[in-house]
Amino acid sequence: MSAVLIFARFTLREAIRKKMVLGVLLLSALFVGMYAYGFSSLRSNFMERVATGDVPLIDFPVFASVMVQLGFYTVNFLSGVMAIFASVGSVAGEVDAGTFHAIVPKPVRRWHIVVGKWLGYALMLTIYVALMCASVLVVSRYIGGYVPPNLVFSSALVVLVSLLLLSLTILGSTVFSSLTNGIVVFMLYGVALMGGVVEQIGRFLQNDTLTNIGVITSLVIPSDAVWRLASSLLQRTGDLSVQVIQTPFTASAEPSPPMVIYALCYALGAVAFSTWLFGRRDL
């Protein structure tokens, strides 16, 4: 078994053993339950109004689409938070604890450790996002009777968001202490959210300065830009009425597809840079 896989497996095992996986699954099950309950209540409310002749102005698929957006947004946010907090001390924590002293002298390369940890968390996040997106879709399909478009690609983009944050957090972990890293990355994550909102306001008001601030933010940390692409893909039905309702969680101005390429390079670059930094570091 290659050393990278040993560290990936070890990382997964640590997450399970420290009950992180259990905690995340329990809370996520709670979320899915509440989501299903909300969706069914929305549907029965809609049906009641149709039955009593008080037909709403907006079709049900529009509500359903917004609910799916909300569901995906929550998955996006939760997996992002999970990516940051799971890996915040992945390097710094072990440096502080001194656990690397017995590991690094072994016949493994330092990059095996970083890439292995990344792979372990990446697998965990991918499985988590896949499960959560599938739950949202099952609820939407069987309770709401609505199937949004571009399911697989949108879900893949949500995975990309979490991998991007994971890579950035691991990079931070080779530079900062766990606490500092957590604060820095979470602030960047917040800045990305705000940057997205600023860019949308900029486009709406046709204010170039605001738009540019948003674009620059997306380049510094493209997590929100990728999410907005996922969000806009979920709305694209060819039915224009679907795009009437805007919430802070949905995207109007969708980012360009090259943003996906940029985000991929960003994530890979962050991992590569962190292996380089960790390789040079005195432990």
Partner: protein, 332 residues
Amino acid sequence: MDLMTESGPAIYVENLRKEYRGKVAVQNLSLQVEHGEVFGFLGPNGAGKTTTIKMLNGLVRPTSGRLSVLGRPLGDAEARRRIGFLPEQFRFHEWLRASEFLDFHGSLYGLSRLERQARIPDVLDLVGLTGRADSRLRTFSKGMLQRIGIAQAVIADPKLVFLDEPTSALDPLGRRDVRDIIRTLQSRGVTVFLNSHLLGEVEAVCDRVAIITEGRVAAIGPTTDLLNGDHVVEVRARDVSETLLTEIRRRYTVLETNIPSIGSTRDFDGGIQTMDRPGITDCQLVLSVADSAVPGLVELLVRDGAAIHALVPRQRSLEDLFVDIVQVGGDR
């Protein structure tokens, strides 16, 4: 593989230097450790011992100098496969069970599942933790963690083992066990590089010793040579004149002076005059004397009319040597 490791010394260090942001931790350190040797690495806190061990294990990058381990340049995977290391801060993943911990570290050495299954009971037995294979490390005492740390260092049947303070958390029984483990390794031809503060322990197990101060080697050699380089002689004599005392002080290094107060009146220069014979005293001296100079000392005493009651050669302890060297360093 074994042919490769037999060529050249087990550890070769030449002009090794490490600076941390301009602060020198190790300067110009050179030493060589032969295959099958148990090598003691001593020095006061902050002398650069742990930094040197970290450099030898690829944890810290040297600023300059040449290093090789098992005849291979630093970082060579083949060499690392044959090296075990117990770090000073023996902190491990405490959520693991003892057997899982050894399995993980065994897999890092590239041992197959079968090899690991075979080795784990062996090394647990070696460190006296046989019954604890399924206990989590979280439940281990410091001494047990140190033992399991030794176990991970030897899981891959290494040719060279670094032990950085292997007994710091152990009680006297545990220390004896570690001494036995080192002797077992020695009997199997394993080279052991031992860093310890417990000088008695180093003295008991090490073939050769290096004492380092301020990042360089202050003394190095076979343990017995270092300890017997100068004889320490205890002299008890009566009727020692003041001139004789002065002459002894001039010729030899006086480590201790003890003049019993028999019929004493007043002190002069550490000696005590007897009342009836001014300038004459009884004394007990501990001197550091070169092997060849012992007959000369006896002759001097006899010629001056001193009555020799005892002339006892004393084994110099590593502690004496250590204190001598470190104090010289500190006085500079």
